[in-house]
Subunit: 130 residues, 2 copies
């Protein structure tokens, strides 16, 4: 097991970028980071555990919001330095803004401005009640 | 236009992570980086232009391989520090190994090993002939 994780090329901070993609829809939900411990926990629990750079600690996705990501597959890229998770998203929301996906602004090629393209499904004040 | 790009929060190296997802299939093809100039070029040409960290210069995806990525949409995440491209992939291959996607190794939860899950579509020696 350890030997398998040793194939991953962690960056100078001991992290790798991680893309979370929704199982079934293929929607890219969010992007985060993992250190080795976060990946080990993710593989052990089969739920997404990231490393929060702002809080400098493991982030069990859904620990506050309940929006757990159940991990169906973990893929690694050709340089062994990026991971791609296939997840089932509890609550149908990955984003802290209460949206399905974090990628909710799209660049409009005509007006050359960013446009919000996804609705807020739930008021964040009702998600984070702690 | 410039004001719109100023919304992006570049990292301490002036870069943002970029995910390239295939239009239609939803397949995540690859992951790379952009600086402001790369993004400007991408929006101008409507083809993916990345910043190569190893070569320390703009990387016009497909410049050697011919595997250009035509950009259909550009999305930004809730923290304004990650971009998601929707692309049409010329040649049907994004990966320098000659595979459709760079994410061709999957972690097998039973054997606890990485397994190659995508075939090589074209010998890389025949892609990079320069």
């Amino acid at each position: 097991m350890q030997a398998q994780l040793d194939r991953i090329k962690w960056d100078d901070k001991g992290l790798v970028p991680v893309i979370a993609q929704e199982s079934g829809t293929g929607k890219v939900l969010m992007f985060a980071w993992m250190n080795a411990q976060a990946l080990q926990k993710t593989l052990e629990l089969e739920r997404a555990v990231y490393f929060s750079r702002s809080r400098n600690k493991l982030w069990f996705k859904g620990e506050e919001s309940g929006h757990v990501q159940h991990v169906k597959s973990v893929r690694m890229d050709c340089d062994q330095d990026v991971l791609l998770l296939e997840v089932v998203q509890d609550g149908g929301m990955a984003c802290h803004t209460g949206r399905h996906s974090c990628f909710f602004e799209a660049f409009d090629f005509d007006s050359r401005t960013w446009q919000v393209t996804e609705p807020v499904l739930k008021n964040p004040d009702l998600i984070y009640t702690k």
